[in-house]
Amino acid sequence: MGIIKTNHVSYDYVRVNDEGVEEEKERALEDVSIDVYPGSFVAILGANGSGKSTLARHLNALLAPSEGTVWVDGMDTSKEENVFPVRREAGMVFQNPDNQIIAGIVEEDVAFGPENIGVPTKDIWKRVEEALEKTGMAAYRMHSPNRLSGGQKQRVAIAGTLAMHPKCIILDEPTAMLDPGGRREVIETVAELNEKEGVTVVLITHYMEEVVYADHVFVMQDGKLAMEGPPREIFSKVEELQKYKLGVPQITLLAHELRKSGLDIPEGILSEEELAEAICRLR
């Protein structure tokens, strides 16, 4: 069984009135079953409102399913006693870099998580140091977070979850507010943690370019799982993706357009180097 597994999960956001009586129900997830292998890097794509963040909130027990079961590292997230262990195993990073910073100094900010879960003081500083090292932020440990760039702030946020020693990190549009350099910084940091430390990564994003780092992609539509597969396979279905309000990386699109115009270029090109090579072969 995967490190994260959902089995026929459905979720309703329920609105209650002042008397606590159910007024309205909004089904945000419908029969979603996914399986994420330990050490893998998966991406979740989907249109606005398709249920990605709702699913992510299930993966660290912020929400419990209305129907079905979610397991994180074998623990059923709907069991009260599992909530804190699950949050330790699955750290979350969100979109807005400014909302995630709590302390006035970088190292204190990173220490906040482990302190909160009662890690002994002498271990905390070791963890903080390690986490800052792994995210390339060690040189900034005494800096004030609000003087950092957006990409650096997000790396501090990632260091903060790393210091909890999670097995997975779930990132919900972590680069939406970053400049291209910051976006690269964050994605490369995450890819390296995945590769070197074996941390399982779940990345939610609207930037198709970032998905090329993933081993496996899930596509959501209207609360349901619509497609899954490796990036190359998913991105070779340009027209189908458009149906789900998605696109492909700019390079993949150009390759697709050239192919449609009759050039002998393979489907599912993901990188600029691949496309340059394919074009050079036409000479």
Partner: protein, 283 residues
């Protein structure tokens, strides 16, 4: 209506240890009817700059001129001016506050003195134009997905039918189709209704596809100000400050280096496609 920043400097937290000069002696004119892009690394001062355009921030030094008149001068009708310069904030959650989506989008028109009926019509039209489904109109803006909130925030500003539309990262958090849809809409408003548009964006691809003029900021100063093609030819300097050129520009550079006779200044998929087809003799 043209807006000019004249020797504008802005400092946050003046007189404290945290004092920071976010804008340094900026002089810039936003011409009538232009579609202008504003790019820059995180923290370069973009959001600070655009909040001067509608007088939300007052320069520490220098002036903001509207058709030559200082907007902070006694006797200038700043209130009316603000309803003509619509600003969509970077973080929509800071912009949404009414109890329902529809009421939220009515706020601007009501503020302009429209009747309740008129305001509702304008609001509905704006919400539909950015594809907010009808069934969300009576929902609380805080019970929406991130991308849905973004759309409602944009609709709230569009509903006022501003003469100058200033958008701070409007497409962050939108799905790829939503991104194109909203930028196409903005483009058509600029072309048909002759409004002026200032688009702040971290997406070099979006900028290349839409804007006529690109202003790049670096550490509170204007670093480059030219047509996008010319700006992106400085891609190495852009990378040094955390930015980049569009993906296809790198491909063209690469092909040209490998001896392909293609122009290196293509910045859109369409241009690149034409150039490559021509180079391989299919055109």
């Amino acid at each position: 209506m043209s807006i000019t920043l004249k020797n504008v400097s802005y400092r946050y937290s003046t007189g404290t240890a945290e004092e920071i000069e976010a804008l340094k002696n900026i002089t810039l004119t936003i011409e009538d009817g232009q579609f202008i892009g504003l790019a820059g690394h995180t923290g370069s001062g973009k959001s600070t700059l655009i909040q001067h355009l509608n007088g939300l921030l007052r320069p520490t030094e220098g002036q903001v001129l509207h058709n030559g008149q200082d907007i902070f001068e006694k006797g200038f009708d700043l209130r009316t001016y603000r309803t003509k310069v619509g600003l969509v904030f970077q973080y929509p959650e800071y912009q949404l506050f009414e109890t329902t989506v529809l009421e939220d989008a009515c706020f601007g028109p009501l503020n302009q003195g429209k009747t309740k009926e008129e305001a509702r019509e304008m609001a509905k039209r704006a919400l539909r134009s950015v594809s907010v489904p009808e069934e969300l109109f009576e929902r609380s803006p805080f019970e929406l997905s991130g991308g849905q909130q973004r759309r409602v925030a944009i609709a709230g500003v569009l509903a006022m039918e501003p003469e100058v539309l200033v958008l701070d990262e409007p497409t962050a958090g939108l799905d790829p189709c939503g991104r194109t849809e909203i930028l196409d809409l903005v483009k058509s408003l600029q072309e048909e209704r002759k409004i002026t548009v200032v688009l702040v964006s971290h997406s070099m691809e979006d900028i290349a596809d839409y804007v006529q003029r690109l202003v790049v900021m670096k550490e509170g100063e204007v670093f480059l100000d030219d047509e996008p093609k010319k700006v992106f030819s400085h891609f190495e300097e852009l990378e040094e400050i955390g930015l980049s050129a569009p993906q296809v520009t790198y491909l063209m550079q690469d092909l040209s280096a490998q001896g392909f006779g293609v122009p290196t200044d293509c910045i859109t998929v369409e241009e690149a496609k034409e150039a490559i087809l021509k180079a391989v003799g299919k055109c």
